[in-house]
């Protein structure tokens, strides 16, 4: 395994005297306790956290009351009602979800996830290859930086030309745009595993397959996850952009369509959906990361 010497976030030399008191630092990898910020009692913390969102909704309301701005900005309550009506008002057979959820939200989410999924697979596979081979990295580094710095929405036309007008140009645009953070982080993560671990793997004659699955991938995982997290928010942005043109459904389509028909309540309800979607994506991602990288959180906390 040819792994470059990298900075190792895990390594901090420990030199505590090995007395009984410090021998065992924690019996089990305890989840980090949620500490109230700055030591406030929790109701105060909750209140503080709600203050800014409440202020934003207040400002939103004030603007919607303006004589001219009110024409475009619908008030929060109307927007929320419209959101419930379009997206959440179905009967039990439709799981209480509205038509817009099925017609626009699900197709959009499907494209975003498909694009992200392709980007994760491609980014990790190529990233690992480049990470373990300095020669490949040197060869493809310029190409990667070129691809990364290209404003990918500009390529939408190219993707339409290549893949027609269905879902595929949109999915591939999302995949192409969000693959870079994952790719670069994977390369970085693989090179950061460190020479000593690579050497240990060699001395213990670990087969290449096990080195890959049990050393390279877990070792690079913290960085890979950081890359995916960036890509996740990109994928939502690109999802919207890809649906602005030549689209028959999706949240992006809905945004454009509601503006063209002066249906501003509809427009604002889509924005509410997008906010909720972003929050939901992030929440799910964090839950997965928390499980997959439990060791890493523990390791970095111990060494703080």
């Amino acid at each position: 395994m040819t792994v470059q010497q990298g900075t190792d976030p895990i390594h901090v030399p420990l030199s505590a005297p090995e007395s009984e008191a410090v021998e065992e630092r924690a019996a089990v990898p305890a989840p980090p306790r949620r500490r109230a910020r700055a030591g406030f009692p929790w109701p105060v913390t909750v209140l503080l956290r709600l203050l800014v969102p409440a202020a934003i909704i207040g400002v939103w309301y004030l603007i919607s009351e303006g004589r001219r701005s009110g024409l475009f900005v619908k008030d929060p309550l109307t927007s929320l009602e419209r959101f419930v009506e379009d997206f959440l008002s179905g009967d039990a057979s439709r799981l209480f979800l509205g038509d817009a959820t099925y017609d626009h939200l699900f197709p959009s989410v499907g494209r975003a996830l498909a694009g992200l999924g392709i980007a994760i697979v491609v980014g990790v596979v190529i990233g690992v290859l480049l990470g373990i081979s300095p020669v490949l990295t040197a060869l493809f580094q310029p190409l990667i930086h070129l691809g990364r710095s290209l404003p990918s929405p500009a390529l939408l036309g190219v993707f339409f030309f290549l893949f027609g007008t269905g879902d595929s140009p949109k999915v591939f645009l999302i995949a192409f745009s969000v693959v870079w953070p994952i790719l670069l982080n994977t390369i970085d993560g693989v090179s950061s595993i460190g020479q000593t671990r690579a050497q240990a793997a060699q001395v213990f004659r670990i087969p290449a397959r096990d080195q890959l699955l049990h050393i390279v991938l877990p070792g690079a995982a913290p960085k890979i996850f950081a890359g995916i997290r960036t890509s996740l928010s990109f994928s939502l942005i690109l999802m919207i952009i890809s649906e602005l043109q030549k689209s028959e459904n999706g949240l992006g389509y809905l945004l454009i369509q509601s503006q063209r028909t002066f249906d501003y309540a509809g427009f604002w309800s889509v924005l509410i959906v997008l906010v909720l979607l972003g929050v939901a994506f992030n929440f799910i991602f964090l839950a997965i990361e928390r499980r997959a990288l439990a060791w890493h959180r523990g390791a970095t906390q111990q060494n703080d």
Binding site: E18, E23, D210, W295, G298
Partner: protein, 270 residues
């Protein structure tokens, strides 16, 4: 990533009792000569210690012995067979436990990882034995980073033992732990070596440690390194930190090694 090469060893063992033989081993990087014609024998079932000043090419030498690097001249024989790739029956303990252990695996998984190919039952038995040997029973389910430095290095030793090595290489194994832990781990090593009869080769820059541990000390000079002297340490075993270290013979050998290292530092050509 290169898959480790397996050195088949069908040849009968050479008549010599040397487990490991270095014959005129040199290694240069470009014009820079790291080790210069090192010849030494590491006897079977004994503890040998290579001691030398910092930067004397000890790590280079270990890489060559473990088959990770090739000498530019000379040869290395392990059990009478030239070393070509990482030989079977060799295990290594690195100085930097926090970098050589896998922080995403619990202790038992770390120890079991090099012997993954074995049947589950034998693997479990070896892991249990190795962890018991280093005194970590009951700590199997901890992650390395939940342990002190000394305990992590015990895990690294257990991992090496689990692969049933004939030759245990240790690269400055105790340089990153405090003095008390270091003393404990030195005694642990000698006890395990006596019990299992494995051949141990320790590389260190610590003169006290080299005399305390060794049956044979191989003193290296400053770079480009040559063997300054090979010293047979005839201190009685079992040794302990008070009796052995106050033994006049210990003091004598330690003084001798110190003088060797010091004089070589001064007169060595650059």
């Amino acid at each position: 990533m290169t898959e480790a090469r397996v050195t088949e060893n069908p040849a009968p063992r050479a008549a010599t009792s040397a487990e490991l033989l270095l014959d005129g081993v040199s290694r240069s990087y470009g014009d820079n000569l790291a080790v210069r014609s090192i010849s030494a024998e590491v006897p079977a079932s004994k503890i040998s210690v290579i001691v030398g000043p910092s930067g004397c090419g000890k790590s280079t030498l270990l890489r060559i012995i473990s088959g990770l690097d090739e000498p530019t001249a000379g040869r290395v024989e392990f059990e009478g067979t030239p070393v070509n790739g990482v030989p079977e029956g060799l295990a290594m303990v690195f100085q930097d436990y926090s970098r050589s252990l896998f922080p995403w695996m619990r202790v038992d998984k770390n120890v079991a990882f090099p012997i993954k190919h074995l049947p589950a039952k034998e693997r479990a038995e070896r892991v249990r034995f190795a962890i018991e040997e280093v005194g970590l029973s009951g700590k199997e389910k901890l992650y390395p980073w939940q342990m002190s430095g000394g305990m992590q290095q015990r895990v690294a030793i257990a991992r090496a033992l689990a692969s049933h090595p004939k030759l245990l290489l240790m690269d400055e194994p105790y340089a990153s732990v405090d003095a008390q832990t270091r003393a404990d781990l030195e005694d642990l090593l000698m006890r395990i070596q006596a019990e299992l009869g494995i051949t141990v080769l320790v590389v260190t820059h610590d003169i006290d440690e080299s005399v305390y541990l060794a049956d044979r000390i191989i003193v290296l000079s400053a770079p480009p390194s040559v063997v300054a002297e090979v010293i047979e340490v005839d201190l009685p075993r079992p040794r302990d930190h008070i009796a052995t270290k106050t033994d006049p013979r210990f003091v004598e050998i330690r003084g001798h090694v110190t003088r060797l290292l010091r004089s070589k530092e001064q007169v060595a050509p650059v």
